[in-house]
């Protein structure tokens, strides 16, 4: 898994590439924690190039969302496709996460 960090205004965007599983999911959590420590609490996670997410990945996304909400921040997901979307639907995550089809829509939602 690769994580690329970008910033647009006060929003931090993480482009994730590859598979999110037990072994690498904690890396995402740590990166979001680092952002919170720096005062960056508006996060977009781009799952466009994520082909697979397991239960550990789901757990990390939920706990990161919780950590951001605790400090008044928010996390939005973009480009949730195919098998990843299927997992989100099965686990009802579509009701708890703000999911957008494009980065522009997610950025607009922060304003």
């Amino acid at each position: 898994m690769e994580i690329n960090r970008r910033e647009t205004g006060d929003v931090v965007i993480f482009d994730i590439k590859g598979e999110i599983d037990l072994y690498n999911a904690p890396e995402i959590k740590e990166k979001i924690k680092d952002e919170i420590n720096k005062g960056k609490v508006n996060i977009i996670i781009n799952l466009d190039k994520v082909s697979y997410i397991d239960s550990s990945g789901i757990g990390v996304l939920i706990s990161s969302l919780s950590n951001l909400k605790k400090v008044g921040g928010a996390m939005k997901l973009i480009n949730v496709y195919a098998s990843v979307r299927k997992v989100f639907e099965l686990t009802k995550l579509t009701s708890f996460f703000e999911i957008y089809d494009s980065e522009a829509d997610a950025l607009a939602a922060f304003k």
Partner: protein, 408 residues
């Protein structure tokens, strides 16, 4: 660049029948800084010296009287295996000879003239010492890894046995319901679990689920889960809407007990032996399959699916209300619960997933058979489809009524 390691304290034996050559090489090595360099005049002499002292490296000529280099190399390998480094010096540089030498020795130096020997020898010695050290280190690491793996297997077996205690149904018997289950565990410990608990004289609680993750972490969570679940089952039964209440209690407990990224997906049913009523809350990733009147329904009233992870930052407490639905299980009808291991297994040749629809089709096809036989035939088809190459845990539970004792 990593600095070269110093091997100047190694013990070296130079073997050559020419006094000029062996003395010259000894002198060169000592001048280079090697502290312990001995000489021998032929193979026999060399072996005698090896009896008296332990050498790290033998640098030997090939053509010698008494015992030649080839015989010496064979004897040394026989005695010391690959614990000694052997370098052969030879004036014969034919490809055939080099191949022969390299089969037993670690390296060779062509003995054309003394300048060439001088040029090659330090490089070859350094390389051989480094290779030997790397090889020995790899062997040590491999042995250590195998030992750790052995310990890990023992720990996994212990964890598996502990978890096995949570996968018992036979302690609960019923005059009204028949319960059957099939469970196999994969090489790694998965998070599947199921249990049946008698709640009072006429009620049985049946719980099936999956904890996120696998391996030792999942095993540890399972033990935490087991205590929380058994308490919640008893406590929830005393409340209104007992299956929904049980999952509410369990959700709240796991939210405190589990690490913040972990959760369980659970299906919980209460079987009423007096009325044949089954009430359920299905916060599991798979639906409950209800087989009746030549059809099969998916029962799924789940709301949050992931038990123990949502806290009030994400979900306000008032929304933590679970659904509970009930139905009567009539004679001849069956319900089935199953974990992902079944529907996500694939045919190794085509890569096709077994899938929910195939499972439903098979269960419907065998609907008229007794419960255990219906499950057996379905599993037979499953293992034929997967060519028995199943990597995940498999848990498959069936419930039916025993004819003639039903109260509608």
């Amino acid at each position: 660049m990593v600095p070269k390691k110093n091997y100047k304290d190694k013990h070296i034996l130079v073997v050559d029948d020419s006094p000029v050559i062996r003395t010259l090489i000894q002198k060169c090595l000592i001048e280079e800084g090697y502290q312990y360099v001995d000489i021998a005049e032929n193979g026999k002499d060399a072996l005698q010296k090896c009896d008296q002292k332990s050498y790290d490296l033998i640098l030997t000529d090939f053509d010698m009287p008494e015992m030649n280099g080839e015989e010496l190399v064979t004897a040394l390998r026989h005695r010391y295996g690959d614990n000694i480094i052997i370098i052969v010096l030879s004036a014969q540089a034919s490809k055939q000879k080099i191949v022969e030498m390299m089969r037993k020795a670690d390296d060779y130096i062509i003995k054309d003239d003394i300048e060439i020997i001088k040029a090659d020898i330090f490089f070859v010695l350094q390389k051989c010492f480094e290779n030997h050290e790397t090889k020995k280190e790899n062997e040590r690491l491999l042995a250590e890894l195998m030992e750790r793996d052995k310990h890990m297997q023992i720990e996994l077996e212990t964890a598996r046995a502990l978890l096995g205690e949570f996968k018992e149904l036979h302690r609960v018997t019923s005059k009204t319901f028949q319960l059957a289950f099939y469970n196999t565990m994969s090489n790694t410990i998965g998070g599947d679990f199921f249990t049946a608990q008698r709640l009072d004289n006429s009620h049985i609680g049946v719980l099936i689920g999956d904890i996120s993750g696998h391996g030792i972490p999942a095993a540890l969570l399972m033990l935490v889960f087991k205590n929380a679940a058994l308490e919640a089952i008893q406590e929830g039964f005393k409340r209104e809407k007992p299956t929904a209440s049980t999952l509410k209690i369990l959700n709240d407990r796991l939210n405190v007990l589990f690490p913040e990224t972990k959760y369980a997906t659970i299906s919980y049913l209460i079987l009423d032996e007096e009325t044949n009523k089954i009430c359920y809350t299905n916060e599991f990733q798979n639906p409950i399959l209800y087989c009746h009147d030549n059809t099969i329904d998916e029962l799924d009233n789940g709301k949050i699916k992931l038990i123990g992870i949502y806290n009030e930052e994400i979900m306000p407490p008032e929304t933590f209300l679970f659904n509970e639905d009930c139905f009567l299980l009539k004679p001849g009808e069956k319900i089935f619960l199953f974990t992902d291991g079944i529907i996500e297994a694939r045919n190794p040749e085509t890569g096709e997933e077994f899938g929910l629809e195939r499972l439903k089709h098979l269960l419907l096809q065998h609907a008229s058979l007794p419960l255990s036989e219906a499950m057996k035939q379905t599993l037979k088809a499953f293992y034929t489809f997967t060519r028995q190459q199943v990597t995940d845990d498999i848990t498959f539970l069936g419930i039916s009524t025993l004819k003639g004792v039903t109260h509608e």
